[in-house]
């Protein structure tokens, strides 16, 4: 569910707003509004006051609010703490000094506050634009709210009202209490003596407030803060300047009329339930439309009795695994207690049954469902497991449909099938319908009319009857004889309505032999239809939909532990180009907060590309300074670079970043541009080639686009390449059509580049034209971009059988357009210039074509890798000579429907086997993780025990988890080795001291919990010293191997750790308290550190000019120092081992020596001394220096 926070300004637009409407919603209020809250006895969840003048007037009242526990969290200006020092670092308090880098270093750090200045919610490109309103919104975003609704932020101040007078600087004081205050929603907001600052001082051109909100939009995009902000105030300046989208507060807060999907079911339908999750998880049948994040509808399973309880965990697990929480607020289970005669569903009417009838189960289940659902909300959709969506967005539509419909009791489907129903209920509303369970009148109707008459009619008239038909039967047969029935029809007849939202086609004869295009025909016949009630259709979709498997794709945990990836590539992910799409496809599962791209949309411009809420990508053009800042803020673990000659500015930036960050590098070549450059621009080639080869050599991994390219490049560069090409996710593609008939619609989607494919596509068009002229039913449809029509459109003039369009299609329309074709074309030119470029290319669209269920016609020379590939796998008709007659012959062959079907099936099988996108993405993620030694996954975690004796796969937060412990059979507390954590952090350029403080803070909390609950908790260390976990039952995280730390950083981290005796003692207690089969903890391995430093020294020497010599000599000097220190260390260790009397005191002296050395390194202002060892710290400085 959206984690909403309503941020309340105090502008006059808020007058008359009923604050109690915010019950159950997080809210943030600010400044002097507490005067009003006190009056109405309502308080927000959070409070902010960042105006030092206001703090002077209100600090005691803020303190009172805290003392009275009125508000959970306070975000205040530092001056508050001069009055109330007991609140410094007190739980619930946050200081402005925590969030601004300058003030954090100057003051916040000294007071012991946690550093929040690097949190993306607070990172800003202009630290002068600080207002309570804007930073309150940032604060709410920091607290994790993913949607903010701004209310009462009018930003239309009367700067100095007549009752106010100036004090010092921009300060004001209220001389007398205004009778009417135009700036606020209640007149007594400001009172005599109140101090405050001028809202919009001259220094900011009187636009401080609006600028501060503009800045939020820009900063969040730049720094990757994923928070949606809407303005709920149409009167605000925010709306005038369109800073945030407008969404009325009524919409923001509106509860759904559509409260829940209720599924009446039993234990024999578990398979169908799980299959439905798979179906709903596919893009084609997703409950919500793309971009619709409203997941407030619940999903409730109404089981007939307790016999299904054993399956609850399995259903919950699949609900989680298929990420149904995207669509539903949660999952719930009700067990209706139906047994024996009350739970019959007997289809053999020759058998004898009691008074409850053959369908007592469904009938009773329906009525109990209606009663149980009363508390869920206004309306529920009863959706049996044999209902299947006809298209995506069915829940979005259901919600809108119900919202738009005048009040009703039952809204459902007539019977649309082929059976002849009895006249008495041929017009019944099928049970899969929407019911007004929250309507007291409907509940009374069910209780006093529907249920008793159902039982009476089953007992007295026909034991076969079901509740839905009975209602119609009663209405039609008894309306003239029974006044009560007549009265119901008279008074409530219009509360029972039909809709074509769902289609009931579930008669016996409707369940056999559905045609392949059955659903498509339904959709063309019933435009509003979204749901089909038909078991056969449901089973067919379930059969064809990709099944959930535990290993498919990236699990949430896996994705959260992926390296932070910086991509440098000119084409933005998801921008519609082939190279943009391949990245967006293969990195689709990569969490947005662990992925940053630097792009270059045109030669002299740079851009940042980040993921958006809707799952797409947003490209923002920005200057190099912003790019550097963003990269530093992002703190990547590794870099993926696609070098290209046509973006020199991007290339220069890439070389600089790669050099300075010194992170694992992956290079990716998708076309053989070096060969083309060599032939076409020899001078540039020779300018670029050395640095290009150096990059390849430096790369930890080199990617190509296909095996042919890998092999060719391996020969050319003497280095290995691994092929990754585009893939296709069949779960989001339409069902393949059945190929019938002789007529041919041939389609091509893509570019018409003269130096790649235009001539060959023209040849295909000519062949089609000749066949058409000969009377064949054939046409060729090309969809391309407008610029290709401009450039190559003339090639197709006069070819009446070919149409050329530049339609932009949605993904669904695009996939449908391809899937409905009879043949799809891939073509390459035969000339040498084209071949130079495409010889080793793999057509980006090939996987999609293969998966579309349409045969492919490939036309081009055999030595193009794509053509060779499809020929090897026999999945396409290939014409590898530039001859129209050959093309005509193959096209004639394709008029054979059986051949088309055979090729289509083979192509789809190949797509599934070798181009499955989730598999490729998962494989790529694993490959990247493997080459990224910076990353360590050791973290704190509380893992609750599960009923099957294992542990939950994911960690619970400490507060929630400790509360849950009482309900489960224990749990495990996992803590990381602090030295490894510090080493990893330092490698990534983070502050080791801060990391240690964070570790200490968390360790203290974990230890406190463990001490209290020793009997129920296991304590274990996740570190290099962790035990081999082969037999013992341990949380899954313990089985994950940890990456090795850089020995040098590990040594430095050890020294840092030695400086903190409190942390040492905490670790000692953790280790003494916990599970320690193997106590061989990793010590300061100075020998390894020295070796590592030497290796780096050699690496530095290699390939560097004279300028590097001084750096190298210093590195040598450093190595010598480390060796000397290591010798002392080992001598000392030897004395310890021999039982020397000096003991630990002697050791302490040596540790102090090491500490001293570390201190010198940190304190030194000489780049000479610090250069070899300070890694990314140095980088940050040097990058900043360049800007």
């Amino acid at each position: 569910m959206t984690n909403l926070c309503v941020v309340l300004g105090n502008g006059p637009s808020l007058k008359g707003f009923d604050f109690t409407r915010l019950a159950g919603v997080a809210s943030l209020g600010m400044n002097a509004a507490y005067r009003y809250w006190d009056e109405i006895d309502w308080y927000p969840s959070y409070y902010a006051c960042l105006d030092d003048q206001m703090i002077e007037s209100h600090h005691n009242q803020i303190y009172r609010l805290w003392n009275e526990d009125r508000i959970e969290r306070f975000f205040v200006h530092r001056s508050f703490f001069t009055y109330h020092p007991d609140c410094i670092c007190a739980p619930g308090f946050y200081s402005l000094d925590q969030v601004l880098p300058h003030w954090y270093k100057k003051r916040g750090q000294g007071q012991g506050w946690q550093d929040l200045s690097q949190h993306p919610a607070f990172m800003t490109s202009d630290a002068s634009k600080i207002t309570t309103g804007a930073f309150a919104a940032r604060f709410a975003a920091y607290l994790g709210h993913d949607k903010l609704a701004l209310m009462g932020i009018d930003l239309k101040y009367v700067e100095i009202i007549k009752e106010a007078e100036k004090t010092e600087g921009v300060g004001l004081v209220m001389r007398e209490t205004p009778k009417e205050n135009p700036n606020y929603f209640f007149d007594s907001y400001q009172q005599a003596g109140d101090k405050y600052n001028i809202p919009n001082p001259d220094a900011h051109n009187n636009k401080l407030h609006i600028q501060s909100f503009h800045l939020i939009s820009a900063d969040f995009a730049t720094f990757g803060q994923q928070t949606q902000i809407v303005n709920a105030n149409p009167k605000s300046l925010l709306e005038v300047e369109k800073v945030f989208p407008l969404e009325p507060i009524d919409t923001v807060l509106a509860p759904h009329k559509m409260a829940a999907i209720v599924v009446p079911t039993n234990r024999f339908e578990i398979k169908a339930i799980l299959a439905n999750f798979d179906i709903w998880a596919s893009k084609k049948y997703a409950p919500l439309l793309p971009g619709d994040r409203d997941n407030r509808t619940a999903l409730v399973f109404m089981f007939n009795n307790d016999s299904a309880k054993q399956h609850e965990a399995e259903i919950r697990a699949r609900f989680d695994a298929t990420n149904m929480a995207r669509f539903f607020s949660g999952i719930a289970f009700e067990y209706l207690g139906l047994e024996d005669d009350l739970d019959k569903y007997e289809r053999d009417y020759t058998k004898k049954v009691g008074d409850h009838g053959y369908k007592s189960g469904p009938n009773n289940q329906f009525f109990r469902t209606m009663y149980k659902a009363e508390s869920l909300g206004r309306y529920v959709f009863q959706m049996e497991t044999d209902c299947v969506p006809l298209r995506a967005g069915w829940l979005s539509e259901l919600r809108d449909h119900v919202a738009a419909e005048p009040d009703f009791w039952v809204l459902g489907s007539a019977y649309h099938g082929q059976e002849e129903l009895s006249l008495s209920f041929k017009d019944h509303i099928n049970g899969n319908a929407i019911y007004a369970v929250g309507d007291a009148g409907f509940q009374d109707f069910v209780k006093t009319f529907w249920e008793p008459r159902t039982h009476a009619m089953v007992k007295g008239t026909d034991k076969r009857l079901a509740y839905d038909c009975i209602l119609e039967k009663v209405f039609t047969e008894e309306k003239d004889t029974d006044p009560a029935v007549a009265e119901v029809i008279e008074q409530h007849g219009d509360m029972f309505r039909f809709t074509e939202y769902m289609l009931n086609i579930s008669g016996k004869c409707d369940l056999t032999d559905l045609s392949p295009d059955y659903e498509a025909r339904l959709l063309s016949q019933y435009k509003p239809a979204y749901i089909l009630h038909n078991r056969t259709a449901q089973e067919r979709v379930a059969l064809n939909i990709p099944k959930y498997t535990a290993k498919a794709g990236l699990s949430k945990m896996e994705s959260n532990t992926l390296p932070r990836l910086l991509i440098i590539d000119m084409t933005a992910m998801g921008n519609g180009t082939a190279t943009g799409e391949i990245k967006s496809n293969l990195f689709k599962e990569w969490p947005a907060n662990r992925l940053l791209q630097v792009g270059s949309p045109i030669p002299e411009e740079l851009s940042l590309v980040r993921g958006t809420f809707e799952g797409g990508y947003k490209e923002t053009r920005c200057d190099a300074d912003t790019i550097y800042t963003a990269i530093l803020g992002f703190a990547p673990d590794m870099i993926l670079y696609r070098p290209l000659p046509e973006r020199p500015k991007l290339h220069a930036l890439a070389l600089s970043v790669i050099k300075e960050l010194d992170l694992p590098l992956v290079t990716w070549i998708m076309d053989d541009w070096p060969t083309r450059l060599f032939a076409e621009d020899n001078e540039t080639f020779h300018k670029i080639d050395p640095s290009f080869k150096a990059l390849l050599k430096q790369s930890a991994l080199r990617l190509s686009i296909c095996d042919a390219m890998s092999n060719a490049f391996a020969k050319r560069y003497g280095l290995t390449f691994k092929a990754y090409a585009n893939g296709v996710d069949l779960s989001v593609w339409p069902m393949p059509k059945a190929h019938t008939g002789k007529s041919l619609v041939v389609r091509y989607a893509g570019g018409l580049a003269p130096d790649m494919n235009a001539a060959s596509i023209q040849r295909v068009a000519n062949a089609v034209q000749e066949l058409a002229d000969q009377g064949q039913d054939i046409r060729f449809e090309i969809n391309t971009q407008s610029w290709w029509i401009e450039e190559s459109g003339d090639l197709f003039k006069g070819l009446s059988a070919t149409t050329l369009t530049a339609n932009k299609r949605s993904f669904d329309d695009y996939t449908a357009w391809l899937s409905e074709a009879d043949a799809l074309v891939i073509a390459y030119n035969f000339d040498e210039a084209s071949l130079r470029y495409v010889r080793y290319s793999m057509a980006n669209k090939l996987p999609e074509y293969l998966g579309s269920g349409v045969p492919i016609l490939v036309h081009g020379p055999q030595d193009v890798a794509t053509i060779d590939y499809v020929m090897q796998h026999k999945t396409a008709q290939v014409v590898d000579v530039p001859e129209i007659e050959a093309l005509k012959a193959v096209l004639m062959d394709l008029s054979d429907a059986s051949l088309r079907q055979k090729l289509a099936d083979a192509g789809r099988a190949l797509a599934q086997e070798r181009h499955d996108l989730p598999t490729l993405a998962s494989d790529l993620a694993q490959t990247f993780s493997d080459i990224c030694p910076n990353y360590t996954s050791a973290t704190f975690g509380l893992y609750l025990a599960t009923a099957d004796g294992d542990f939950a796969p994911e960690s619970s937060d400490l507060a929630t988890g400790s509360a849950e412990l009482a309900k489960v059979d224990g749990g495990a507390l996992v803590y990381p080795d602090p030295v490894a954590v510090i080493a990893a952090a330092m490698q990534q350029g983070q502050d080791g001291t801060q990391t240690l403080e964070d570790w200490q803070s968390q360790a203290t909390d974990y230890l406190a919990l463990y001490r209290k609950m020793r009997e129920t908790l296991q304590l274990m260390e996740h570190s290099h010293a962790a035990p081999e976990v082969t037999d013992a039952v341990v949380p899954e995280v313990m089985t994950e191997p940890l990456k090795g730390n850089d020995p040098l950083y590990y040594a430095l981290a050890s020294l840092l750790f030695q400086k903190n005796p409190v942390a040492q003692r905490t670790l000692a207690e953790l280790r003494a308290s916990g599970m320690v089969p193997d106590k061989d903890y990793a010590d300061v391995d100075l020998s390894a550190a020295v070796t590592h430093a030497q290796t780096r020294m050699k690496a530095s020497t290699a390939g560097q000019g004279i300028g590097a010599s001084s750096s190298v000599s210093l590195l040598q000097e450093q190595v010598i120092q480390l060796q000397a220190t290591a010798e002392i260390y080992y001598q000392d260790a030897e004395k310890m081992r021999m039982g020397g009397g000096a003991g630990s005191g002697y050791m302490q002296t040596q540790v102090e020596v090491l500490q001293l050395e570390l201190d010198q390194l940190y304190k030194s202002k000489s780049w000479r001394v610090t250069e070899p060892l300070r890694g990314l710290r140095r980088l940050a400085g040097s990058l900043k220096g360049k800007r």
């Binding site: 209290k1012 005796p1061 003692r1065 000692a1068 280790r1071 003991g1143």
Partner: protein
């Protein structure tokens, strides 16, 4: 042991603390609180040499804080300190139940330490009578011995506040569980503000305040009792005197009767002529 909770003793930051004697100070998390409470002097005693070294380094800025590298025990014979990977658990005694609580604990062997006699040590501190002193004991296994030694020397009630960390069960040979220490301390008037901190139920911490009123009450009760005894004695004496008086009166009455009889029955006698010479002498 967690930070020192002033409020448990009814104190706040403005309360003034006299001397603090912390035996088994470890890294002394509570030092900032001792300082904040305005303590006149803080004596930290820590037997572990490494920890004592760190303590000294941390406290050099505070002239009224002293660190001594010693153990304190009622048993002043030469002893060895059992050292462990978690130094807070170091003890002069052999661990018995400790490994149940700390299964991963490593022993670092035994090391000789200089042991101070509790009474001698405290006496040498010359604690002024007028201030509120505090004794903190984090000497695993030694708490009861130290307290009894101080009590025997009449020094225990020199402390106003006690804070003691010891095992709920005996974790070391011969150690007294904390509940038993509490019971015993109640007999010594340390029964005010008695609070268990069970953040670590295996090793709870007991905070107590010397019950000055209870002490005074007992003193007054003793005085009253003495007075009452004296009164009873006096009453008994009066009774005795009264009885003697009655007896004497009776005896007197008998003598009077006898005298009367004698007078009544006396033979007639010749009046005596006063001897003037004798009368003069008598005068």
């Amino acid at each position: 042991m967690n930070r020192f909770p002033l409020h448990l003793f009814g104190m706040d930051q403005s309360s003034l603390l006299g001397h603090v004697l912390h035996i088994g100070a470890g890294l002394c998390d509570a030092l900032p609180d001792y300082l904040a409470a305005g303590s006149d002097a803080v004596m930290l005693v820590e037997p572990d040499p490494d920890t004592a070294l760190i303590l000294r380094a941390q406290t050099t800025a505070y002239p009224h804080v002293s660190v001594r590298e010693n153990a304190v025990s009622a048993n002043t014979e030469k002893q060895l300190l059992h050292r462990f990977s978690f130094a807070n658990l170091n003890s002069l005694r052999t661990p018995i139940g400790l490994m149940n609580l700390f299964p991963g604990l490593d022993s670092f062997g035994q090391h000789p330490v200089q042991v101070l006699d509790p009474a001698d040590f405290v006496r040498a501190l010359n604690l002024p009578d007028t201030a509120n002193h505090m004794l903190v004991l984090e000497a695993p296994g030694e708490a009861m011995g130290i307290l009894q030694a101080l009590d025997a020397a009449g020094l225990l009630d020199g402390f106003r506040y006690l804070r003691i960390c010891e095992g709920r069960e005996a974790l070391y040979e011969g150690a007294t569980p904390l509940a038993d220490i509490r019971t015993w301390l109640a007999t010594r008037f340390f029964d005010k503000d008695s609070v268990y901190d069970e953040s670590d139920p295996g090793q709870p911490v007991l905070s107590l305040t010397y019950n000055l009123l209870a002490t005074q009450k007992v003193q007054y009760e003793n005085k009253i009792s003495a007075i009452q005894t004296a009164l009873t004695d006096a009453k008994a004496q009066i009774e005795t005197h009264q009885q003697e008086n009655v007896r004497l009166q009776k005896e007197n009455a008998g003598i009077a009767v006898q005298l009367e009889d004698l007078l009544d029955n006396r033979p007639a006698t010749k009046p005596i002529t006063p001897n003037k010479a004798l009368l003069k002498k008598d005068q």
